[in-house]
């Protein structure tokens, strides 16, 4: 075991644990209200929102999976970059409008908005369940990041319950401070996490290319066919169409995830959000550098070194980033870097569990089980739900093979994308009918799950044969096109037969920007 690294790692972990509990008192509000526990009272200013959204979207799994994908697959893995470039211009145009209407009507979740906008509990339930189902495997995947670094410290992970003990401890800590402090805990921890991540990435990006003799040498060591997307062959667009559709579809999916909504609605105003989206690309730039770490790991040949080869055998390409740290840095810095990954897993896991808990409480418990519940009871329910969600994710990782979590997360992206017509078009227009949106949602889901099942849930692409061409694209995006087509046709039909429903709790003045 790496003693020095472990001591630094545990020390930093204890620090953020204390911070997590203390943050309950920070800008204290009446914690018996759900918008206090679950949205931090909608009072987060510019800086905190920046850290919170950054800490939320750039998860530990990203730090591990993106270099792993570049390490293993080459150019395709770089899709993470156009993905994050696409996100901010889109959310700049769309989400401040959601914030304004949500504040006006005290909406905590996107489903709350859909329920109000369309007066349809069924559609709101569909959106809420989709959100919860898509979020669960995402939380489980955060644990993978922790597992990899705990393994890197020299603990034997993946050998039954004892091997998973450090992971279980980390999760109990997470569950406890989220329970007491709500969204304030990840918000304050995100600041520490981001500092650690920036320090680690900057050190890696300076030291490793220097030791390897510059970027020229690094790229020269990569096989030519990995460096670019393969050319179009025999009318098959191949990765040339899959790459941009995966980036675009993932960007759309990202803003629909419940944890993104939670972070966005916790800002103190729409202009705080708009300012944030000017500066959030700083994270994306770092993500690009992290992606290049995959090539550095490849060029350095660390996977073949006797002391690191066993790790690569156990964790595969996912050990690319931890491996670089272990090989090129002193033990104490390995502790810092590994803590960055582990804490980077706790922040989004906390926000995701809060988001799922908000959805369950507002759109399932309050809407269907106990409509008359008091605000206090509502908040207690959400706190309890956040524990259940996290415990479920933990069981998932401890008892099921890792590939299940990865496959479900992949499916989750396809599913969450199907909530776009209801949520995003609702932000702009009430033209669509709720029943038609529900029909489109069901069609998109059914087709998306079928298309993913064709590859045994291993691939997120579907090859469409159209007029002699083969166009592989992200399944989520094809499903979304179908979803919209069904919703439009069904709305036209319902309007024609006079069955369209025009109920709407919001008015035009609730939307601004």
């Amino acid at each position: 075991m790496n003693i020095v690294a472990t001591i630094v790692f545990v020390g930093l972990f204890l620090f953020i644990t204390a911070l997590g509990f203390l943050s309950a008192h920070w800008r204290k509000g009446d914690m018996s209200h759900l918008h206090e526990w679950g949205l931090g009272g909608r009072r987060f200013g510019g800086w905190i929102t920046w850290f919170l959204i950054g800490g939320d979207l750039y998860t530990a799994y990203t730090f591990v999976a993106v270099p792993a994908l570049v390490f293993g697959a080459g150019a395709l893995g770089f899709f993470a970059l156009p993905y994050t470039v696409l996100v901010y211009p889109m959310v700049f145009a769309i989400l401040p409008r959601l914030w304004v209407v949500a504040k006006k009507h005290n909406y905590i979740t996107a489903s709350d908005f859909v329920a109000g906008r369309y007066g349809s509990p069924a559609l709101a339930l569909a959106i809420a369940v989709t959100g919860i189902v898509a979020t669960m495997p995402y939380i489980a995947l955060q644990l993978v990041g922790i597992q990899v670094v705990i393994g890197g410290l020299g603990f034997p992970t993946g050998h039954g319950l004892v091997g998973d003990l450090p992971l279980i401890i980390a999760f109990i800590i997470l569950a406890a401070f989220t329970y007491t402090s709500g969204l304030r805990a990840p918000a304050s921890i995100a600041v520490v996490k981001d500092l650690l991540v920036y320090i680690t990435v900057i050190a890696l990006i300076i030291v490793v290319p220097y030791k390897l003799g510059g970027f020229g040498n690094i790229f020269a060591a990569i096989p030519k066919e990995h460096l670019l997307l393969p050319p179009v062959k025999d009318g098959n667009l191949g990765l040339q169409s899959f790459y941009p559709t995966l980036a675009f579809g993932s960007a759309l999916a990202l803003m629909l995830y419940p944890h993104a909504t939670t972070a966005v609605l916790s800002a103190k105003g729409p202009n705080t959000l708009r300012r944030n989206w000017v500066f959030l690309p700083a994270y994306s730039f770092m993500l690009g550098l992290i992606a290049l770490l995959g090539y550095m790991a490849y060029a350095s040949g660390i996977a073949k070194l006797p002391d690191l080869a066993p790790y690569f055998k156990q964790y595969g390409p996912q050990f690319a980033m931890p491996g670089l740290l272990l090989h090129y840095f002193p033990s104490w810095f390995v502790g810092v870097g590994f803590a960055a990954v582990a804490i980077g897993a706790l922040v989004p896991a906390a926000i995701m569990s809060i988001a799922a808990a908000n959805l369950f409480t507002r759109n399932i418990y309050k809407a269907y089980i106990n409509p008359g519940c008091s605000t206090h009871r509502e908040t207690e329910m959400a706190k309890l739900a956040s524990l259940v969600v996290k415990f479920g994710a933990l069981l998932f990782i401890v008892f099921l093979p890792l590939t299940y979590a990865i496959q479900l997360q992949l499916l989750g992206g396809i599913l969450i994308l199907q909530t776009l017509p209801a949520i995003v078009s609702g932000i702009y227009t009430r033209w669509f009918d709720a029943k038609a949106l529900l029909l489109g949602w069901a069609a998109g889901l059914a087709w998306g799950i079928w298309a993913a099942s064709l590859s045994g849930f291993h691939k997120s692409g579907y090859a469409l044969h159209l007029g002699g061409m083969v166009i592989p694209a992200y399944i989520g995006l094809y499903a979304l096109v179908l979803n919209f087509a069904v919703a439009i046709v069904a709305t036209l039909v319902l309007n024609a037969v006079g069955m369209a429903d025009k109920q709407d709790a919001t008015v035009a003045a609730d939307y601004a920007g």
């Binding site: 470039v85 696409l86 901010y88 510059g214 959030l280 690309p281 690009g288």
Partner: protein, 70 residues
């Protein structure tokens, strides 16, 4: 809460520029010209990260009145 102006066609075009720049695969799917040994495919997409921030900042200046706190 100060009301920002509505996004018009010009603002939508400005926001769309960075998006299009990272989606035109045939244009940037090549090795040369490389910069500091980084192939075109990689640095082109990396450069558009800060540039997207610049475009968003321009739109921000256009639609949000200066001194809006919230």
């Amino acid at each position: 809460m100060s009301t920002p102006k509505k996004l018009g066609p010009l603002q939508f075009i400005l926001l769309a520029i960075p998006c299009v720049a990272v989606l035109v695969i045939p244009y940037f799917n090549k090795l040369e010209p490389s910069v500091f040994g980084i192939p075109f495919f990689y640095w082109w997409q990396l450069v558009w990260v800060p540039l997207s921030g610049v475009f968003i900042a321009i739109v921000y200046k256009m639609v949000v009145p200066s001194g809006s706190g919230d």
